[in-house]
Symmetry: C2
Subunit: 277 residues, 2 copies
């Protein structure tokens, strides 16, 4: 595996290989990321993983500074996984003018769900992903369903701006007790970690209700919010949406997704579950 820090060096490498599948990450890799890598290997001759903690998508008071940076351990995992290139630019390489001047602006979906609590987050994601797509020149990119709203926005952006890349969604990796794998899980205390799978349990309950024909979406959402709140979670949102567009679900919709974000102590967790009727 080659570790590449400069765009110029990457371009020289890219000129001499055929197909590339790309997995953008912020590092601190866990099994969820490695599942993306495995899927990427099935999609192209070469897998490129990027590690870049993107300041642009962190809000004020968020964890940009303390976001875990573990490049050496990450590199070892990627080497073992058969990755061809680890692209790990520093900030000056991606933001040479310090401030990014041109942004990719997503539609109003960026201000809903997680966007209510993280202003400008999805604009920052769309912009850095555009930059990385332009640099990496991949045929395919793999994104986890864990960040379902991010995946939907990236898919929309690629379609709407005619980007020459195919997006492959990959199922959320989970611990044995169901907790969605996330770099932020390590912030949980032991007691919080024990309680955390409750979020997934609640999503499963909603999906079971939907599958048994319950279409009282608001009542279902409120029920989950109330359960989580009384168990000590601070709930940002619980919503049932149409799974392709993330439009608000209407009675009769067959393709749904239940999305939730809630905090246990200082740690904000998100999860979601699709439901196709």
């Amino acid at each position: 595996m080659r570790m590449i820090h400069s765009i110029q060096e990457y371009k020289e490498w890219r000129n001499n290989v055929s197909s590339v599948a790309f997995v953008p990450t912020m590092g601190n890799l866990h099994e969820g990321h490695l599942a993306l890598v495995q899927r990427a290997k099935a999609e192209a001759d070469n897998v490129v993983v990027s590690i870049f903690v993107n300041r642009l998508q962190f809000g004020q008071g968020e964890d940009f500074d303390k976001y875990p940076r573990t490049l050496e351990q990450d590199a070892a995992k990627l080497r073992d996984a058969g990755v061809a290139v680890l692209f790990a630019p520093d900030e000056r390489e991606l933001y040479p003018n310090v401030t990014q001047q041109y942004h990719v602006e997503p539609p109003n979906l960026q201000n809903e769900l997680c966007g209510v609590f993280r202003p400008n987050h999805f604009r920052g994601v769309a912009t850095v992903v555009t930059k990385l797509f332009n640099i990496i020149q991949a045929d395919v990119a793999c994104f986890g369903k864990k960040d379902y709203q991010q995946l939907t926005i990236i898919q929309g952006m690629v379609r709407d701006l005619n980007m020459p890349i195919r997006i492959v969604p990959v199922d959320t990796g989970r611990a044995a007790d169901g907790l969605a794998l996330s770099s932020r899980n390590q912030y949980l205390s032991e007691a919080e970690r024990t309680q955390a799978p409750e979020l997934y349990q609640q999503l499963k309950w909603v999906v079971a209700q939907l599958q048994s024909g319950n279409q009282h979406y608001t009542a279902l959402e409120n029920s989950v919010k109330s359960t989580l709140s009384s168990n000590g979670w601070v709930v940002d949102y619980v919503e049932i949406r149409e799974s392709g567009s993330l439009n608000v679900a209407r009675v009769g919709d067959k393709h749904l997704v239940v999305l939730a974000a809630a905090r246990l102590g200082n740690t904000r967790l998100i999860d979601n579950l699709e439901c196709h009727l």
Copy 2:
């Protein structure tokens, strides 16, 4: 020359050729466009010209509906000029959802100069050019200096979003009397056409002043505005700016450009002239 209307058909053609130089246009081609084509021919094995009147960059009350559409004559000119592909998508091909959802948002420069008078114009330009770049997959694209602010914004966008394309600026084509070539010149009455080169004469006067050491930028700007106004022009702006960034010029700057926009009757003309000291 092949005339291609669909993105899919274009992609199939693109897969089988080597280098491409791209000239995006809104059609109604004149010698200025053909100079871009000649320059493009020197840059790559194949020249692709697009013709697309982009609704997104026209404001309310602007001339989108009456913008001259002359596809047959344009195609003949491009065939004679040795163009490989004329890409002429219809609106449904580029905007299948009618409304564009994701935009490329330029920095505040988009709200200055022409942007004061054409809100959202440069966002519309940046967005459609991004879409066309993603479709055409060219190595090089040629843009005229006539639309100097557009050129500056495209150059900034390519740099800032790491787009894999090289931008080649091409000098403004001019009639024998100095008038910058533009599709909008045909809107001028005979008397207006006779008067129109005055705009260029004024820019030349400013450049001569700058070259002789005059650094009273505001006084120079005001002098031109006053001359044009008293001759019946309605002046949108006359500004001296730093030529690379289009920042407001500071005393001592060596690389300047004088830009102007003014209306004769119902026709809005723009022009500019660089001045390197």
